[in-house]
């Protein structure tokens, strides 16, 4: 590179890089620092080293079935994210497949229909479910009108899962569609020609070759769901908390910033671990 080019590159990159450094990387590192400090009652931190936050996070509570309530919330968040991912895959894979089979006009219309919720305000879409599932919401009003008993579904794990799947489905369908759309159907014919029946064609050819879409969709669903705050708050009413709820709580009403920071740090470490596994597999894909 010439000197002129280096200068040009500096002008191009430095404003964005500076912004991301200042308002993304430094805040992220600050959280790591905060997690090793003492709490200040009323919010904030005291600048003295402490491992209290981590100790608190891993101290067993005899009344809790698994170590303590925080660990339970961690496990629950990851478990629900996994469940959401699986349900989205079960609904989304055949849906993406169906869309990919249609004529060009129908295809673009259906994909457009999937994209509308993708772009629509998440809060509003979650609220729509609260409107339906609430104790005096649409579902129960209808049931009552039909002389049937009301179903107390709001503030239960079921309500939260419905909301999580609802919010995530488009994020699963779009990457799946992209990879199914690219699929070369002569490979199906080639496999059939060599004696593979429908199940073999699917398991040996179609699924492995659309795997990048499955992986991409799963990552796009899993990560945001683990950190969900809006859905468990609105549809869970704080009664079925996820990681997002305790994070918000520690930085809000509980005023324990170091503890909240420690939760965020452990959360990020677990996610990074997942992302590393993802990139490992993606690299495997590339060498295919």
């Amino acid at each position: 590179m010439t000197k002129r080019q280096i200068g040009f590159l500096g002008i191009l990159l430095s404003p964005g890089a500076l912004w991301i450094l200042l308002f993304f990387l430094i805040p992220s590192l600050l959280i790591v620092v905060y997690s090793f400090l003492d709490r200040q009652t009323g919010g904030g931190v005291l600048w003295s080293f402490s491992t209290d936050a981590y100790v608190k996070l891993f101290t067993p509570n005899p009344n809790s079935p698994i170590i303590n309530d925080f660990v339970i919330i961690f496990l629950r968040s990851f478990w629900w994210a996994l469940l959401t991912t699986i349900i989205c895959l079960i609904l989304g894979y055949p849906l993406a497949f169906f869309i990919a089979q249609q004529s060009t006009a129908v295809k673009s219309m259906l994909i457009f229909l999937v994209m509308i919720p993708f772009w629509t305000n998440f809060l509003v879409r979650t609220y729509a479910w609260k409107f339906i599932l609430n104790n005096n919401g649409l579902l129960n009003t209808l049931l009552h009108g039909l002389g049937l008993p009301r179903i107390p579904i709001i503030n239960t794990p079921t309500a939260v899962l419905i909301g999580l799947v609802y919010g995530s489905l488009p994020f699963m369908v779009l990457p799946l569609y992209a990879s199914i759309e690219k699929f070369d159907y002569t490979l199906v014919e080639a496999a059939q020609d060599l004696g593979a029946n429908y199940f073999k064609v699917f398991s040996k050819i179609f699924l492995p070759l659309t795997m990048p879409g499955v992986v991409a969709g799963s990552v796009l669903v899993f990560i945001p769901v683990v950190g969900q705050y809006v859905v468990p708050t609105i549809l869970g009413g704080g009664k079925v908390a996820m990681l997002g709820n305790i994070l918000a709580q520690q930085f809000g009403s509980a005023m324990n910033w170091p503890f909240g920071s420690a939760i965020a740090v452990i959360f990020m470490i677990l996610l990074m671990f997942g992302i590393l596994i993802y990139f490992y597999f993606e690299r495997e894909e590339e060498t295919v």
Binding site: T186, E189, A190, D193, A196, K204, P208, V288
Partner: protein, 365 residues
């Protein structure tokens, strides 16, 4: 009956309102190299796909070794296909690709391995089993596709324009290699192509198709020398078409009037009624061209004409000659002698054309 491998009986294939294949009947002998030749969209690939089982015939039946298979899915037919763009599974190694069919038959692993290696050797690709398809060149991928089909020992091998993605030189080499392989294995090959030269080079018999119909089935010589229709004559090689009116016909020789120019004799297949409009066809290389009026005893027909264009292309010189009634005839003159007076012929010069009656044919279709 025992020596017929594939038989199509009154097969029709419709896609909606469109008839891709119209009432075709064909018989392909055991061990034959059979080509389906025609322009794109003529139904040749649909025909092949019906034999493979990717399409089911709307009407009619297909027999493999005497058994009806028309409605069977592809994985229940003992035929294999070499696809146009090879359709190698990109996520599997070469060995896994080649072994796929045997794996589907649930053959023991050791046997699969043995046969995969043997077949890769047969197509001259040993030691490449662990590579992925994209690491191979086009020619190598072509061989893998061939090996993947042949390893299953199919009754019939179907080849859907398998050489079209290769460059000219490689294509020529593969043509010979395919033919050699077919001789060695004795498997029936059904080969789809739009390249008439390719079909002529390799086939025992050719079916020429157009608009879903088989126009003619025959050996390369039959098809070239005795084309059944104008289309066949035009599609295979180069031909001059001269409109004519039948004057009389006797014993395979027709007398026809060529516009205002002359009355000539030409070969004909059927009895033609006098007065019928027809076409005389004559191949450019069967016309002799002379700078002066020839004294040629063997020629039955001699015309004078003006050279419109002459192109020297090494092995021969091509002349476009305009006859008296403005009909243009293409002539191919082989450059045999060193001091050929024809090399000095220029556009506008008068030349003389002659041919034998038997070289020209009268066609009505």
């Amino acid at each position: 009956m025992t020596n017929i491998d594939v038989e199509l009986v009154d097969v029709t294939k419709r896609f909606g309102d469109f008839e891709a294949v119209k009432n075709i009947s064909l018989q392909i002998q055991q061990g034959e190299f059979f080509s389906l030749l025609g322009p794109s969209g003529c139904g040749k690939t649909t025909n092949l796909r019906m034999i493979a089982g990717f399409e089911l015939p709307s009407e009619g039946e297909i027999y493999l070794k005497g058994q009806p298979v028309g409605q069977l899915p592809p994985f229940k037919r003992n035929v294999n296909t070499v696809f146009q763009n090879y359709a190698l599974f990109p996520h599997m190694t070469i060995a896994d690709n080649v072994g796929f069919g045997l794996e589907m038959k649930k053959l023991p692993k050791a046997e699969v391995k043995q046969r995969v290696n043997d077949t890769l050797e047969l197509v001259r690709l040993p030691n490449l089993g662990e590579r992925k398809p994209r690491q191979l060149s086009g020619g190598q991928q072509q061989r893998v596709a061939l090996a993947r089909a042949l390893v299953n020992r199919p009754d019939v091998l179907l080849l859907d324009e398998p050489l079209s993605a290769l460059d000219l030189k490689l294509r020529k080499a593969m043509q010979l290699e395919l033919k050699e392989l077919q001789n060695k294995l004795g498997i029936t090959f059904i080969f789809v192509t739009h390249d008439q030269e390719e079909a002529m080079t390799m086939s025992d018999r050719i079916a020429v198709m157009d608009h879903g119909v088989v126009l003619q089935v025959g050996t390369p010589t039959e098809i070239y020398e005795n084309p059944a229709t104008r289309f066949v004559a035009d599609f295979i090689g180069e031909t001059n078409f001269l409109p004519c009116t039948v004057v009389g016909c006797d014993n395979g020789i027709a007398t026809v009037r060529l516009g205002e120019i002359a009355q000539i004799n030409a070969a004909c297949d059927a009895q033609l009624p006098a007065g019928q409009e027809a076409t005389v066809i004559i191949r450019p290389e069967k016309i002799n061209i002379h700078p002066t009026r020839p004294d040629d005893a063997t020629a039955d027909t001699i015309f004078a004409g003006k050279v419109a264009e002459s192109v020297y292309i090494g092995t021969d010189t091509r002349f476009a000659v305009t006859l008296a009634d403005n009909a243009t005839v293409n002539v191919r003159h082989q450059n045999v002698s060193v001091d050929d007076p024809l090399t000095h012929v220029r556009a506008g010069d008068t030349v003389y054309l002659s041919w034998q009656s038997a070289a020209a044919r009268v066609l009505t279709a």
